[in-house]
Amino acid sequence: MNLPWLFGGRTASAPVARERLQILLAHERGLRGQPDLLELLRAEILSVVSKHVVLDPEKVIVRMDRGDVVSMLEVDIEVPNVAEKWIAAVT
């Protein structure tokens, strides 16, 4: 029995808490256990580019900016400016 007016007019807030948690946790549990998408992309991009160019793995940065309509995937790869290394890697 829920009689909010008996308690100074305040409505019970626990049902709101319960509903919010149920929605949130259903979402979070769905994400759990999946590999981190950005880490996966980073590893694959690194392996593809490394076939042709000598790279410092630390200098491969993959970022995702999430927007309302579209998201921006940004890949930032720093390539050392040494001609010999380029040639060595390509040949």
Binding site: A14, L21, E28, R29, G33
Partner: protein, 271 residues
């Protein structure tokens, strides 16, 4: 067979250390040989709650690094012969606690104790991971409040994936301990009810610890709440929970404070 029990929550300030001290002390009183380990490197507090802060000479990391042996670092409780404390380091670098070091110490403690109770730090970082790493069982401390419930859910996910037990295809046995529960507020719909929390988290209930001033009173004087006043409501709830950990079946109730005559006459709300 020794059991490794982690007391964990994700969120801070929900009662991990209080619960570790109370459950550890009660298991010791039941005749079990118990060691409680503080995993909160840099922010140790289990020593303080147990009233052993002035007796700490060596700590967990000293043992990991081989500066001291286990026997030198273990502190025996002054009230209970069966209760021992392995304190966390207060000053050293957190990275000094290695998985290998923890593994070795837990293995050695398993040969000497019935219960190894690991008091986890808050968060989901290294310290919390190491505290749960070798656990056979887990007590998840949850307040009936949204952020605590969410963090507990996260911790449950980690217990199911990041522990040695889970990696070997087994399961860490999980128990939910709801702390700071206020029956009246839950009845008025101001606080998540026990059923709400159980339905959301989906793990079996170990006990319900009522919100009480007795908890602060006990930590003020450095005594587990179960030893400071065994008849207080939170103490009775912890004692019931410890009995359930030992496999006894105890009816689930929320202990209420026993009111004195004056309280009754004056209609005073219990503390």
């Amino acid at each position: 067979m020794a059991k490794v029990l982690v007391v964990t929550s994700g969120k801070g300030g929900v009662g991990k250390t209080t619960s570790t001290a109370a459950l550890g002390a009660t298991l010791a009183q039941m005749g079990q040989k118990v060691v409680v380990i503080d995993f909160d490197v840099g922010l140790r507090n289990l020593d303080l709650v147990l009233g052993a802060e002035r007796r700490v000479v060596f700590d967990f990391i000293n043992v990991v690094q081989g500066i001291a042996n286990l026997s030198q670092a273990l502190i025996r409780d002054k009230r209970l012969d069966n209760l021992w404390l392995l304190p966390a380091s207060q000053t050293k670098d957190k990275d000094a606690l290695t998985e290998e070091g923890v593994s070795k110490i837990i293995a050695e403690l398993r040969t000497r104790f019935d219960w190894i109770v690991c008091d986890s730090p808050a968060g989901i970082e290294r310290g919390a991971m190491l505290a749960m790493r070798y656990a056979d069982e887990a007590v998840i401390i949850t307040n009936p409040e949204v952020s605590s419930v969410r963090d507990s859910d996260r911790i449950i996910g980690m217990l199911d994936s990041k522990t040695v037990k889970a990696e070997q295809g087994g399961r860490v046995e999980k128990h939910l301990l709801i702390t700071r529960f206020d029956t009246a507020r839950a009845a008025r719909g101001e606080m998540l009810s026990i059923d709400d929390v159980l339905e959301i988290l989906g793990i079996p209930l170990l006990g319900i610890i009522p919100e009480s001033q007795d908890v602060l009173r006990a930590s003020n004087v450095g005594s587990p709440v179960t030893l400071n006043d065994a008849s207080s409501a939170p103490a009775r709830a912890y004692i019931d929970a410890a009995r359930r950990l030992m496999g006894e079946s105890v009816a689930m109730t929320v202990p209420t404070p026993r009111k004195g005559l004056m309280d009754r006459l004056l209609g005073r709300r219990a503390a």
